[in-house]
């Protein structure tokens, strides 16, 4: 099977994305969830890079820069939320913050 380098890149990106998603769904620790989200974002970024390489376009790299910026601001907000949560509930369990259910 000859996928070529971009093809293998997409496969790797899909694998990373799936791993990240699994982490988000399975882990309860908020920090680990944030890390998993980073993995998913970077998987998406890798997919753009691979696509840009496949079509010989610079757009993929431009999009990756956007994702980088989004990831940075997401981490800033995410860590601030994690800190608040830790102060409120004295734990980092994501499920502990379910007081607003229903």
């Amino acid at each position: 099977m000859s996928l070529g380098l971009p093809g293998w890149g997409l496969v790797l990106a899909a694998a990373l994305f799936a791993l990240g998603l699994a982490g988000v769904l399975a882990r309860r620790n908020l920090l680990m969830i944030l890390i998993s989200i980073e993995v998913m974002l970077n998987a998406a970024g890798l997919a753009f890079i691979a696509a840009g390489a496949a079509w010989n376009q610079a757009d993929g790299q431009v999009m990756f820069l956007f994702i980088l910026a989004v990831a940075a601001s997401e981490v800033a907000i995410g860590l601030a939320l994690a800190l608040r949560l830790h102060r409120e509930t004295n734990s980092l369990d994501a499920d502990a913050a379910s007081r607003m259910r229903g």
Binding site: A97, S98, M100, R101, G102
Partner: protein, 634 residues
Amino acid sequence: MTGVPAIFGWLWLEPAIPFASALALLAVGRALGKRATAWLGTGAIAASSAVALRVAWSYAGTGGRGFTLPLWQWFAVAGFAPRVALYLDPLAVVMTLVVSFVSLLIHVYSTEFMAGSEGYARFFGYMNLFVASMLTLTLASNLLLLLLGWEGVGLCSYLLIGFWYPDEANGYAGRKAFIVTRVGDTALLLGLFLLFNRLGTLNLQLLMQRAAAHWAPGAAAAETAAFLLLGGAVGKSAQLPLQTWLPDAMAGPTPTSALIHAATMVTAGVYLIARTHALFALAPAAMSAVAGIGLATLLLAGCSALAQHDIKRILAYSTISQIGYMFLALGVGAWAAAIFHLMTHAFFKALLFLAAGVVIQAMHEEHDIFKMGGLRRTLPLAYWCFLFAGASLAGLPLVTAGFYSKDLILWSDYASPLGSTGLWIGALVGAFLTALYIFRLIFVVFYGPEREPPGHRPGPREQWPMVILAFLSMLAGFIDLPRALGGGDWLSRFLQPVLPTLAAGRVTELGELATDAIAGLVFFAGLYLIWLFRLQRPALTAALMAGAWPQRVQRFWLAGWGMDWLYEQALVRPVVAAARTGRNDPADAIFAGAGALTRGLNRGLSFWESGRVRRYAGWIAVGAIVLAALAVLG
């Protein structure tokens, strides 16, 4: 008015004294000692009786006219302005004398009988209230005041049946009496509405005049009004089909049973019909119904009395049966005979209950006659009282009051223009049953081996009223001795201005003496039969009761012909079932359903709002995958 004795102006004291005493006893009775309570409660009745006697004494010389004593105007609404007024005529004189004197004797008896019971003052308060209501009922000049007394005695009956209310069964018996008589009272009230609507007054004298003037005999309105009044009388006097409350009313203290549920209150229906006899005379169908109900009741109740074990229930069925006789007399137009029997019955039935009270006290609250026996020697007074009263009840010829009153009824059934041979034979069968059941009771309780030695013995305050009543049970008959026996039928003549005898009798084959003789023979036949079965050859009883059918009949009669069962199935159960259904508000189902739907939706939707971030993320992922799959595959 000239020629009116001044004492008639004090007539209002008769109900007022017991009423004031009842209020005092019920308000501050707890503070009084037992001695003061007994003096107040009994003294009020004694004073009332003294007034009644004094009034009767003066009345005897007035020649049977009616006197009205207006007191005040009750209220005035849209042309309806009933007065509170008392009316005195021979019927009222006889009734007040019977009521107040029997009440007095029973009050004296109660001072000792109730000595060991809780609520001594409460008991006398209720009893005095009852006497006040009963005297209001008998003296009322209009039907509205009569109804006030009527409901008053009903209330006291309820209160006294449930007197020992800590026992739940007594409370139920009281409620049953109240509710069953309420059925009759409703009919009575409707009758009052009809009479006022058609004749424009409730004054008894005016009403009777107008009824006779406006309505032809057999007119539909007269029949309807008479039937409605009859409904009230049937409820209060425990006749078919509303008789079921009286046997259960025996849950009350025994003096109550004697006074209210035997001697006075239950005869209020008889009094009502006698009082409104001019209306009934216009309603032949209602008259036949009165006679028919009377005959059916006296036979059915007589059979039931024969099967009971409880000494007081035997007497209760006997009361129902004897009131049946009074109805039978009313139904053939023998008004005076009914009142005569009412009077003698008040004496001997009150005595039977008082003596039964002595027996029950001596037997440590035991009611089952088959657990008693041989009390003849140990309770001689109770024995003799039972013998006298029983002989009077069953109609021992020539020497007892009951014989004369019952024979007057029997003779009227036979010879009255409304009578018939069939009614007469039915009444004779009833007399036979009476002899059977009352001597069965006497033989079982007082003869045979002694089963349990008596405990409590009656004191003088229990004994003297019984002795007096025993004399009255024997002698009261002589005030209406039939002419055929050389008497002067004084009572009938005294009542003649109010309660006329029917004009011409039927042509009959037998004379009055012959029917009297037959009634005497029937009494002796009953006495001999029960003597044979109970004392002489007890084995005969055992042989008879060994069969399946006699036992079945006995159970059926014990249960009062299954009437309670029938009402339970036909009326009580459906009402209770409807109430149970209604408790869940089926009519509200639509509104309640809308609420339940909203709440269900809420519960379903809030499942998705779990508040758990990871679950949201999971569903987002699922949604994304589904969308991607649709995009790729579609």
